[in-house]
Point group: C2
Chain length 310, copies 2
C-alpha cells in the first residue's frame, strides 16, 4: 500500500565530532521518504525554494517516489544549521532559516488523497491537521512532532492527536507532553489524548511502543560508529511506516516487525553524514541487518548467520 | 547447580522521592542472594558486626541459603547511607562506614569451595582474587565491580579479570574502564582483558551482553513505579546467575534467558524499599513476569496471557 508524507525539505549545515557538511540534503520529509521508499511507494508533499537542486531527489524517484507534490516557491529553501557533541545526543541548533517554509500551506494533489498511510512529519500541528482535512479515509495516520510544538502549540497538537492513530515522539517529548517522568506512564497518558499507539524513541536505547493492552520494546541496532545522528528519527519513522504499508499488518506483531525495520534503517543512516548511507544501501542490506537485530533481540536465538564484524 | 557468593552485608539508610528507611537490610551479597535463591542453592560468605540481627536472614535460610559462611566480628556492621533524586538514577552517597567490613578477608569454608558458580560481588578486586585462589575449578566465575575500583585499583582489577568468565558492570563503568564512549566498542575492549562475556547494565533501558561473536540485548521490564533502586544491580546479577546455575546452559541462548530472569527479578526489587519485594514474591510471580517480558521483547509475540495492569 502507498504512503503520503507531508513535511520539510531542507539544506542542512551539520557539525559532529566526525566532521562537517554544508548545504547537504536534509529535512524531515526527505529522510522519511528515503527510508520508507525501500519498502513501499511514497508520495511526498513539501516546499522548496528556487535555489533547490531538484536533481538531488533523483535517487528517490529512481525508487519510485512520486515527487509531483513538490512546490517550488520564490525564495530560498529551508535551511538548518546544528551541531552534535561527543555524546551524539540532542543537536544544538545554531540557526533555523525557514525561508519558503515560512508560508508553507500543504496542498494535497487529488492524486495523493487516497493513500492508505499518511505520515505527518514534524511541522506545525495546525498544518498537520489541514492535511487530514484534505485526505480521504486513510487506513492509518502516523504523526511526529517536537518540543517546540508541545510547548508552544499544545492546544493545536491535542486537537490533532484526536485524529492520529500512531504518535511517534522521543522520550523527552513524551515526558514533556504528559508531565510525567516515568516513560510508560507518560505514554499511557498520551494514549488518553487520542492515538491508539504511542511510539517512544529512546535513541541509542531503542524504541518502545505502548498500546492500551500491550507494551513492545526493541533495542537499537548496536552501531559502533555514529557519525551523524541527523535524521535518525525521521529515518526510523520511514522504515516503520514503510514496513507497515508493505505488510498491511497493523497488529502488535506487525507493529513489532515495523519497529525492527525502522530501527535498522535508522542504524544505517547514522553511520555517515546526511543521506550518504540511505543512497548507497539496498533492501538486501536492510533485510540482512534485520535478521541480525532479530538475533540480538532474541527473536531468533537459533539463527546461525552472523554478518561480518558482528 | 550451586552458587558461592562473596560480598557485603550492610545496613542501609536510603532516601528517595517516595520515602526513607533507616537501618534496612542491604549489601551486595544480600541482594544477590535474595534474588539467586529463587533459582538455585546459594552459599554466602560475608562479614557482619555484633550488632547484626542474624534472624533477618531467616527468609533466605527458609529458601535453602547456606549462611554458615557468615563471620560475626566485634564491632558494627557495614553501614551505607544514600539518596536518589527525581530521576532515580545514580545514588548520592552520604556516608559509608565500613566498620567490620574494613578488615574483611574472605575465608571460604571447605564445604563451599567446589561450587560450580562463583559470584564475586562488588568488593576490592584483591579480595575478589583471593576468593578465586581458594575455590576449586568453578564452571563459571561471574564478577561485579564499581567505579571506585576502576579508578583506584585498576591494576588489581585487570589482574582479576584474566580469571573471570562473565564481567557485569554498568554503562558508565564500562566507558570508564575501556576509555571509550561507544558502549559496544567499550565492551569489546573489556573482552580483551579476559572475560568471555561482558554484561553491561543499562538501568531503565535494560541490559546488553557482548561476547566475541554475538551481542544480546534485553529491555528492562516496564516498571511504572520505581520507589527504591537500591540493590537493582545485585538483584539483576542474582537472577542472572541463579538462572544460569539452574539451567546449566551457558550458551548464548541460555545467557539470554538468564538476562531475562535477572531483569525480572530486579524489576520487583525496585518497586519497594530495601528487600520488601524480594521477601514477599515467589517463583511463580517471577515466572509470570518473565512470560510477560518475553512478549514485550518479542520472543513470544503470539502469547495471549497478559498480567493485570499490563
Amino acid at each position: 500500500m502507498g504512503i503520503l508524507v507531508v513535511g520539510s525539505i531542507a539544506y542542512d549545515d551539520v557539525t559532529t565530532p566526525h566532521g562537517r557538511v554544508e548545504m547537504s540534503l536534509g529535512g524531515s520529509a526527505t529522510y522519511f521518504t528515503a527510508a520508507a521508499s525501500f519498502f513501499s511507494p511514497v508520495r511526498i508533499v513539501a516546499v522548496v525554494g528556487e535555489d533547490f537542486d531538484v536533481g538531488a531527489l533523483g535517487f528517490l524517484e529512481a525508487r519510485g517516489v512520486d515527487t509531483s507534490g513538490l512546490a517550488v516557491r520564490p525564495g530560498e529553501t529551508f535551511r538548518w544549521s546544528g551541531s552534535y557533541g561527543e555524546d551524539m545526543g540532542e543537536a544544538t541548533t545554531h540557526a533555523t532559516h525557514l525561508n519558503v517554509f515560512q508560508d508553507f500551506r500543504p496542498v494535497i494533489p487529488a492524486t495523493h488523497r487516497s493513500e492508505d498511510y499518511v505520515f505527518l512529519a514534524n511541522i506545525d500541528p495546525e498544518l498537520q491537521r489541514s492535511v487530514l482535512d484534505q485526505v480521504e479515509k486513510p487506513r492509518l495516520v502516523i504523526c511526529d512532532t517536537m518540543n517546540f510544538w508541545i510547548d508552544g502549540r499544545r492546544d493545536a497538537l491535542e486537537k490533532l492527536l484526536r485524529r492520529v492513530d500512531v504518535f511517534v515522539l522521543n522520550e523527552a517529548e513524551a515526558r514533556d507532553l504528559a508531565g510525567e517522568k516515568n516513560v510508560v506512564k507518560a505514554a499511557r497518558r498520551i494514549l488518553d489524548l487520542g492515538p491508539s499507539r504511542v511510539v517512544v524513541k529512546l535513541g541509542e536505547y531503542g524504541v518502545m511502543l505502548v498500546g492500551a493492552h500491550r507494551i513492545l520494546r526493541l533495542p537499537a541496532y548496536p552501531v559502533e560508529e555514529v557519525r551523524d545522528p541527523t535524521g535518525a528519527g525521521d529515518t526510523f519513522a520511514g522504515g516503520f511506516v514503510g514496513c507497515l504499508a508493505e505488510s498491511g499488518d497493523d497488529s502488535y506483531e506487525g507493529m513489532h516487525r515495523a519497529l525492527l525495520a525502522g530501527t535498522v534503517t535508522a542504524s544505517f543512516n547514522v553511520e555517515a553524514f546526511s543521506m550518504t548511507r540511505l543512497r548507497e544501501i539496498d533492501r538486501q542490506a536492510i533485510d540482512e541487518r534485520c535478521r541480525h537485530l532479530e538475533r540480538v533481540a532474541g527473536w531468533r536465538p537459533w539463527a546461525a548467520a552472523v554478518p561480518p564484524g558482528c
